[in-house]
């Protein structure tokens, strides 16, 4: 029986938002399929409400993502067999792009949102120098190191031990005490460690369009997708980025 699943969840749409996936090997019109519905976490009236809400939001998102992607993560390492005529293919799924907006990006990477010491999701530029020329020399976040810190912090939270160590780990790169689920996926958390390069923004989410797109034209880039994958955008478009803008730097 063919059932429009969005209809089933339509009454809950005020409290949930969808996670959708698309297989890029399918040619033609992009087909997005809903794989999960994440509850919207609201700020409660309590002590340090903002911080707690952020932590809850990150936790709920990561746990929902893990529930949906659990087997996918296993198959990304092992691959699965698929019979194609007389051939048996070994198919390995790989996550190429995570489309979201900037607050969601911080939640997906389990990084502290809003004002923090390290506001860039991709590099370790400090907020105090993010507009300065010296920001150009700041190092990129190394997925393997960041993931190790986040896993340690998550362990400490779950065992309610060594709060000071956890706080130090969080402050080290403005990470929250959760490990990003996609860090367990092959290719993102393993070689070539593309975790921090997987996020792209829908073009409608980009408010700094003039800052980012210089207008050289992008024939073919947006074909099949309505977004621009910024980590490879420079190659795609030959873009110019402002060296003194940390957001531009993060998109390089």
């Amino acid at each position: 029986m063919l059932v429009p699943f969005d209809v089933c969840f339509a009454s809950l749409s005020a409290q949930l938002y969808p996670v959708r996936v698309r297989v890029v090997n399918v040619i033609g019109q992009a087909q997005w399929v809903t794989a999960a519905y994440v509850p919207i976490v609201r700020r409660l009236k309590e002590r340090s409400a903002d911080a707690r809400a952020r932590l809850r939001r990150s936790g709920v998102l990561q746990r929902t993502l893990y529930a949906a992607f659990r087997e996918y993560i296993a198959f990304s390492h092992l691959g699965f067999a698929f019979k194609l005529g007389t051939r048996t293919l070994k198919v390995c799924p790989r996550t190429l792009l995570y489309l979201c907006d900037r607050p969601e990006e911080r939640a997906v990477f389990c990084q502290i949102g809003g004002q923090c010491e390290y506001p860039c999701s991709v590099c370790t530029v400090r907020v105090g120098v993010s507009g300065a020329a010296t920001a150009v020399n700041s190092q990129e976040r190394k997925a393997i190191d960041v993931l190790e810190d986040q896993v340690e912090a998550m362990e400490l939270v779950r065992s309610s031990r060594r709060r000071s160590r956890r706080v130090t780990l969080e402050e080290g790169a403005s990470n929250s005490s959760y490990a990003p689920v996609f860090g367990a996926t092959a290719g993102l958390g393993t070689d070539p460690h593309l975790l921090f390069h997987m996020v792209g923004f829908g073009i409608l989410h980009v408010r700094l369009v003039r800052c980012i797109i210089v207008g050289r034209g992008a024939p073919g880039v947006s074909k099949g997708t309505n977004c621009y994958q910024f980590d490879t955008m420079k190659n795609f478009l030959g873009l110019q980025f402002s060296p003194s803008c940390s957001i531009c730097r993060s998109l390089r």
Partner: protein, 258 residues
């Protein structure tokens, strides 16, 4: 009405002559009663006189009254009232198609054992009908692999819904026509990295994964690229059309010249 007003004007107003009247270019009157003056002002605008019937007729001789028996009148009432505002034109199209099937008059429709059965033959009441719909929906949702779980975060419970992404991916592969599915970026084999950017499979990352897989597992290995989308926040009202200084985040963004 017009005659009444004319009589009223005769009794209540006298023409005023002077500089103001000359400047305005229209006759000025002095009224004995303010109520008449008000009416005269609005009558002068001729709004009622310019008014036209609300509906612009679609044809010269409208075929009214064709819903002329009980069942069609009930249908008309349903179409005009359902959901508070009635059905849209597109929904009316769909309803017509559905009723065509229900009346067994749609050309080429299949015949089965229930071809001549009525709704009452299957459902005794509205609640039985509702239950049947809900049951089918529940089973379909479960068959599609949807699950729910309660997550407790900092003492607060959240109910989340999910299904296995790998099963979704399997379904996409098996249900897609072979002609619309590309296993390799080059069609029958991995393509080299080049300047071509027609599909997401032409990206450098995809091709890099492909070459790694081919090196490790041979020619029968391929990569299944996945894009994920989730978005908890709303779009900005600007629709992404203006730049701003990110002072709130301590960052300053400088637009580049084109």
């Amino acid at each position: 009405m017009e005659a009444d007003l004319r009589a009223l004007y005769e009794m209540n107003r006298t023409e005023v002559s002077g500089d103001d009247a000359a400047d305005s270019g229209r006759q000025q009157f002095k009224y004995a009663a303010v109520s008449t003056h008000i009416r005269a002002l609005y009558e002068e605008m001729q709004d009622v006189q310019r008014a036209m019937p609300l509906a612009v007729l679609r044809r010269k001789r409208p075929h009214t009254g064709r819903c002329n028996f009980y069942r069609l009148r009930a249908l008309q009432q349903f179409v005009l009232e359902v959901g508070g505002a009635g059905l849209t034109l597109a929904e009316q199209d769909r309803l017509f198609d559905f009723l065509d099937v229900w009346d067994r008059t749609k050309p080429g429709m299949p015949k089965d054992a229930g071809h001549f059965k009525t709704l009452r033959d299957s459902f005794d009441s509205a609640s039985a009908f509702q239950s049947a719909l809900a049951d089918d929906l529940d089973v379909a949702v479960n068959e599609a692999g949807w699950k729910k779980v309660v997550l407790t975060e900092s003492g607060v419970d959240f109910e989340t819904y999910f299904r296995s992404v790998i099963e979704v991916v399997h379904n996409v592969i098996t249900r897609t026509d072979a002609g619309k599915f590309r296993w390799w970026s080059g069609g029958s084999a991995p393509a080299p990295i080049d300047e071509r950017r027609e599909t997401p499979m032409d990206g450098e990352v995809f091709k890099m994964f492909e070459s790694t897989m081919t090196e490790e597992h041979g020619e029968d290995a391929c990569v299944l690229g996945l894009h994920v989308y989730s978005d908890s926040s709303q779009l900005s009202s600007s629709g992404g059309t203006f730049s701003f200084s990110c002072s709130s985040a301590g960052e300053s963004c400088c637009p580049l010249s084109e």
